[in-house]
């Protein structure tokens, strides 16, 4: 019995001793026998030297700060760009893309939409002043109409998918949630990349077909100075007025910029460095925003805002009254040419509008 009691006492004392020893060891020491206790900020870092000289004498913080600021190291491989571990221009690009581009781009598109709606409410539909004559003049050839609608259709798909990619996270995510946006953005990106190259080819064909009559010429500014769209009586103009010609050249330059930058984005090795890609992305977005905003006005005027305008792009012919009221100088020349359009089905359809109006 006595021997058993002594054994128990010995075990108890031994356990208490182990417990006291364990409590005397600090958590830092417990984690790593090689770690250094850093009690004051001065000790934490002093001129980049880590006290203790245990893990080297250079501060990791300084090292990573340098990497984070794009410090260039040394590499033995041909691609010298690999010497930069973190490219700081990515952050700058992200800030521009999600900052001013998104803000001003959104405001521009929203503003254009509101302007078109406001214009429609204030001015309504531009109706013909005189009655239709039933005599028509050709305005757009069949190839011109085909390529226009082809480009227009692709523009709608690319524009909508591009807006989802650009503004989806800001506009759609709070409404439809992250999962649905992820699906939409994924689908939009695929469609955008696939249809983009077709758009480029079609755009080039369209710009070539429409070039001849869109070169600025004497008299274009007369239309603008006399009030343009805002004039109660339509000022005279050539086949295209100053507004239409400006829309063409916007399409020429912005569409060209979209096309070139789009090709770079699809083939990311083309520019040679990541800055080229970042620049292409910004150019792509800014040009697209400009085109989308302007296209709202074009769609409004072409489809609904101007009576008879849609006929020119669906049937190819316009009534003489329409021609003389909207594009007098052009219409007078065309009437003199005395086109043989009698019997052409599209001309007959256009002329029938006079009977139905």
């Amino acid at each position: 019995m006595r021997g058993t009691a002594t054994l128990r006492l010995t075990r108890l004392l031994g356990f208490a001793g182990i417990l006291l020893w364990g409590l005397s060891v600090s958590p830092v020491q417990a984690e790593s026998p090689n770690s250094v206790r850093l009690s004051t900020p001065d000790q934490v870092q002093s001129d980049g030297t880590v006290p203790g000289n245990v893990l080297g004498n250079t501060s990791d913080a300084d090292f990573w700060r340098g990497v984070n600021h794009g410090e260039v190291g040394k590499v033995s491989i041909p691609d010298k760009k690999a010497a930069v571990m973190i490219n700081r221009t990515g952050e700058t690009w992200r800030n521009v893309r999600t900052g001013p581009v998104m803000l001003w781009g959104g405001l521009l598109i929203g503003g254009a939409l509101l302007s078109v709606v406001g214009f429609g409410i204030v001015y309504g539909k531009f109706k013909l002043h005189g009655p239709r004559t039933g005599r028509v003049i050709p305005r757009f050839s069949q190839p011109e109409r085909w390529v226009h609608w082809f480009v227009a259709g692709l523009f709608m798909i690319l524009g909508l998918s591009g807006l989802v990619i650009m503004f989806g996270r800001t506009v759609l995510k709070p409404i439809i949630g992250a999962d649905a946006l992820s699906i939409m953005a994924n689908a939009s990106l695929q469609a955008h990349n696939l249809l983009g190259p077709i758009f480029i080819v079609a755009l080039v064909i369209m710009l070539v077909l429409y070039l001849k009559d869109n070169i600025y010429q004497n008299g274009d500014f007369v239309w603008a100075f006399k009030g343009g769209f805002f004039s109660s009586h339509h000022p005279p103009s050539w086949k295209y007025n100053l507004g239409e010609k400006s829309w063409y050249w916007l399409l020429f330059f912005a569409g060209g910029a979209i096309s070139v930058s789009g090709v770079v984005l699809i083939f990311p090795t083309l520019p040679g460095d990541v800055q080229g890609l970042q620049l292409s992305q910004i150019v792509h977005v800014v040009s697209a925003i400009a085109l989308i905003s302007a296209s709202l006005g074009h769609i409004y005027l072409g489809v609904w805002g101007v009576e008879g305008a849609l006929d020119s792009m669906t049937l190819g012919y316009v009534d003489e009254t329409w021609g003389l009221e909207h594009h007098r100088w052009w219409a007078e020349l065309e009437i003199k040419k005395d086109h043989l359009v009698e019997g052409a089905p599209d001309a007959v359809l256009a002329a029938n509008k006079a009977e139905n109006s």
């Binding site: 069949q142 190839p143 109409r145 085909w146 609608w149 082809f150 259709g153 692709l154 798909i157 992820s182 699906i183 994924n186 689908a187 939009s188 695929q190 469609a191 696939l194 249809l195 190259p197 077709i198 080819v201 079609a202 669906t314 049937l315 052409a344 089905p345 599209d346 359809l349």
Partner: protein, 214 residues
Amino acid sequence: MTFLEVVEGPLWYLSATIFVIGAAWKVLGILRLGRKRDLSIPRASASIGAFKAQFLHFVPHGGFTFRTIYHLVAGYMFHIGLFVVMLFAAPHISFIQGNIINLEWTPLPYWGFIVAAQFAFAGLILLWVRRISDPVMIKISDRDDHIGSWLTFLVMLTGCMALQESVEALRATHMLLVDLWLIYFPFSRLMHAVTFAFSRGYTGAFFGRRGIVP
């Protein structure tokens, strides 16, 4: 059972059955119509004329080339692109192997798929643009033509949207539209994919019998 499993399982088998039976039923119906007996004395073989027409009608007669160049080019772009994508896209081969016939053939590389799909899209859009802007085509096009065009377009578009194969919902959407397309096929002018051979054969036999190159 997930939505994808439904559209790739029971709905797929149902639509494929409707497609096969419906198309066969329609072909049988056409064949049963027969034709009036031709009492003229044959100057050449009607059968050879029917056979020749199958191939000669792949290109327009010389005098019509210019007038038909638009839909000739657009038509070939669309149909060749579509068949290449349908038969040689890697996901399609994998699906065909798993659900129709266990044969193996080499899929197109990714870039080849993209080019074929772009041709198909460009062709289809050009054909539809012609349908809505050509004064004659406007008049002779009805709802069926537009539904067929749009359904095919949506099948292709959703297929391309699911290209990354990372989102199940996109694949399911594509398959749902494929199923709808298969169901719609026998009851619409999409049947031209089958009936064109009968049409050419009939015309070829008619002219062939009279000794005229069909």
